[in-house]
C-alpha cells in the first residue's frame, strides 16, 4: 500500500510526473514518424532512380545511419547541432542558442528510422509489377500521377508490415533520449527510483509502460492493416 501511494497523482506521488514522461515518449515517437517516413520514401526513390549520383548519395546516407549505434547518432546530432548552431549564430547574430533535446532526438531517430524505412520501401517497390507502370503510362498518366494514384496505394499495403515493425523499434528507441536530458518515461522513472530508493518498483513500472505502449501499438497497427487490406479477397 505504501508503495502504491508513491504512484499516486499529485504532490505526494509520482503519477503525474510519470504520465508526463509517457506523453513525452509518445509525442517524440509520433513527431519522428512522419519525418522518418517521408525521408525514407525519398531515400528509396533515390536508390531506385536512374541517376547514379542520387543512388550513391542515398546509399551513403543509409549506410552511415544503419551502421552507427543510435546512442552515438543521438550524441553526434545533439552536440554537433549545438556546436554548429552556436558557431553560426555567434557569427551572424552574436548570440548563443540552445538546441532542444526533443528536436535533436527527433532528428537523430528520424535519420535512423528513415534509413531502415528506405529498405522496407525498396522491397515494397520490388513487389509492384512492372505492368502497373506500363499500364499507367498507356493511360497517359504523368510520372507524379502514376506515383500518387497507382503505385503509392499498392506500396503502402506492401510496406505496412515492415513499417509496423519499425514503429515498434522506434518507440523503444525513444528511451535513449533520456541520456541527453529529455524527461521521457525512462528518465522520470529513473529520477523517481533514485529519490524514493525504490529502483525495482519504478524500473519494472517503466518496463510495464513500454509493454503497454507496444501492445496498444500492435493492436492499432493490426486495425490499420485490416483497413488497408479490406479490398483484398480472402
Amino acid at each position: 500500500m505504501e508503495l502504491l501511494s508513491l504512484l499516486s497523482y499529485g504532490d505526494a506521488g509520482w503519477g503525474d510526473e510519470i504520465l508526463s514522461g509517457i506523453w513525452v515518449t509518445i509525442s517524440l515517437g509520433l513527431a519522428t514518424l512522419p519525418f522518418g517516413l517521408l525521408l525514407g520514401f525519398f531515400l528509396a526513390l533515390g536508390i531506385n532512380s536512374r541517376e547514379p549520383s542520387l543512388q550513391v548519395s542515398a546509399k551513403i546516407f543509409t549506410t552511415i545511419f544503419r551502421g552507427l549505434p543510435e546512442l552515438l547518432t543521438l550524441f553526434i546530432v545533439f552536440y554537433g547541432a549545438q556546436i554548429l548552431g552556436n558557431f553560426l549564430f555567434q557569427k551572424v547574430f552574436g548570440i548563443n542558442i540552445e538546441i532542444n533535446s526533443f528536436v535533436a532526438g527527433m532528428i537523430a531517430l528520424g535519420f535512423v528510422f528513415s534509413s531502415y524505412a528506405s529498405e522496407v520501401f525498396l522491397s515494397a517497390f520490388k513487389g509492384i509489377n512492372q505492368g502497373q507502370y506500363e499500364g499507367a503510362s498507356a493511360l497517359g498518366l504523368s510520372r507524379f500521377q502514376t506515383m500518387r494514384l497507382i503505385i503509392l496505394p499498392q506500396l503502402i499495403k506492401l510496406a505496412l508490415p515492415g513499417l509496423s515493425n519499425l514503429w515498434l523499434i522506434l518507440l523503444k528507441e525513444t528511451s535513449l533520449v533520456s541520456v541527453i536530458g529529455l524527461a521521457d518515461t525512462i528518465r522520470v522513472t529513473g529520477i523517481a527510483a533514485r529519490v524514493e530508493k525504490e529502483p525495482f518498483l519504478f524500473f519494472s513500472l517503466a518496463c510495464l509502460i513500454y509493454l503497454a505502449l507496444t501492445f496498444l501499438s500492435s493492436v492499432g497497427l493490426e486495425k490499420i492493416e485490416k483497413t488497408v487490406r479490406r479490398g483484398e479477397v480472402r
Partner: protein, 280 residues
C-alpha cells in the same frame, strides 16, 4: 460503294520529326548532383576538422583507450550472442511445444524482452534487482549482481535470446513438413531428425536474420556505457567529458562504421559460401 475504302491518293512524304529532346538537366540529375556535392563538401569539412584539431598527445592518450573499448564491445557482443544462442533453443522449443504452460511462458518471455527497450531492461536488472542486496548476499549471488559487467552480459544474453528464439522458430517452421515425414519414414529418432535434418536447413534460412541480429547487438551494446562500462561508447563519452572535443565522437563513429561494415561483408561471404549448393 467499296471505293470509299480504297486509297485514291498517296500521302506525300514528310520530313521525319525532330529528334526527341534528351533533357540534359532533369530534376533528378540536379538533385543528385547537389546531394553528391554536399556529401563531398561534408567529407572535406570533416577531414579539415580532423586535421586542424589533430593533437598527437590526445591521440596517444585516448587511442589505446578507444582500442581497449573496442575490444570490450566485441567481447560483450561475442559472449552474449553465444549465451543467447544457447538460451534461445529451449525458448524456441517452448514456443512451439504443445504444452500450454511452456508455450505461455516462452511467449511471455519473448514478448517482454522484445516489447521493452534494452535500456529499461538494463536498469531493471542493474538497479532494480541490485537493490535487493541482503537477499543476494543470503543466496551468495551478490558478487554477480554487484558487478556491472556481469549484469550487462546477463541482460544482453536474455535480450538477444528472445530475438534469436523468434528467428530460430521462424526458420524451423519454414522447413517443409515433408522433411519431418521423410525422416519419420526412415525411422530416425527425434533427436537425429532435429539435429541432422531440420536444424541444418533451418539455419541456412536463419543465416541472414542472425547476421542482422549480431549487427543490432553491436550497435545496441553502446547502451552499456550508461551503467559505467567502458566499452567503445563508454571511453568515447569519458573522452568527451574530459576534453569537450567533438572529434571524440567522430572517431567513435568511424570505429563503429568499420565494425558494422566489416561484419556485413564477412557475413555476405559466409552466406555465399554456405549456400553454394543452393545456387544454380
Amino acid at each position: 460503294m467499296s471505293e470509299a475504302y480504297v486509297a485514291s491518293e498517296m500521302i506525300s512524304s514528310r520530313p521525319r520529326p525532330a529528334e526527341a529532346r534528351k533533357s540534359e538537366w532533369s530534376v533528378g540529375k540536379i538533385l543528385g548532383l547537389m546531394s553528391v556535392v554536399s556529401w563531398i563538401a561534408a567529407g572535406i569539412a570533416l577531414i579539415v576538422f580532423l586535421i586542424t584539431s589533430y593533437d598527437p598527445a590526445q591521440i596517444e592518450k585516448y587511442g589505446p583507450r578507444y582500442f581497449d573499448g573496442f575490444l570490450t564491445t566485441l567481447k560483450l557482443v561475442a559472449i552474449s550472442v553465444t549465451i543467447g544462442a544457447a538460451l534461445s533453443l529451449p525458448i524456441a522449443f517452448g514456443r512451439m511445444s504443445s504444452n500450454k504452460i511452456l508455450r505461455g511462458f516462452s511467449f511471455g518471455y519473448i514478448y517482454f524482452f522484445r516489447g521493452t527497450p534494452l535500456l529499461a531492461q538494463l536498469f531493471l536488472l542493474y538497479y532494480g534487482f541490485g537493490s535487493f542486496r541482503s537477499f543476494w548476499q543470503d543466496v551468495g549471488l551478490w558478487w554477480f549482481f554487484r558487478d556491472a559487467w556481469s549484469i550487462a552480459l546477463l541482460s544482453f544474453s536474455l535480450n538477444t535470446a528472445a530475438y534469436q528464439a523468434e528467428i530460430l522458430r521462424g526458420a524451423i517452421m519454414n522447413v517443409p513438413k515433408g522433411q519431418h515425414e521423410g525422416a519419420a519414414s526412415l525411422g530416425l529418432p527425434n533427436m537425429v531428425t532435429f539435429f541432422k535434418i531440420i536444424l541444418p536447413q533451418a539455419l541456412i534460412v536463419a543465416l541472414r536474420p542472425y547476421g542482422n541480429e549480431i549487427i543490432l547487438m553491436v550497435k545496441g551494446s553502446a547502451v552499456v556505457s550508461i551503467i559505467t562500462i567502458f566499452d567503445l561508447m563508454g571511453h568515447t563519452r569519458r573522452a568527451f567529458s574530459q576534453t569537450l572535443d567533438y572529434q571524440t565522437y567522430i572517431y567513435a563513429a568511424i570505429f563503429y562504421l568499420i565494425v558494422v561494415e566489416v561484419m556485413r561483408r564477412l557475413w555476405d561471404i559466409l552466406e555465399h559460401r554456405l549456400t553454394r549448393h543452393l545456387r544454380r
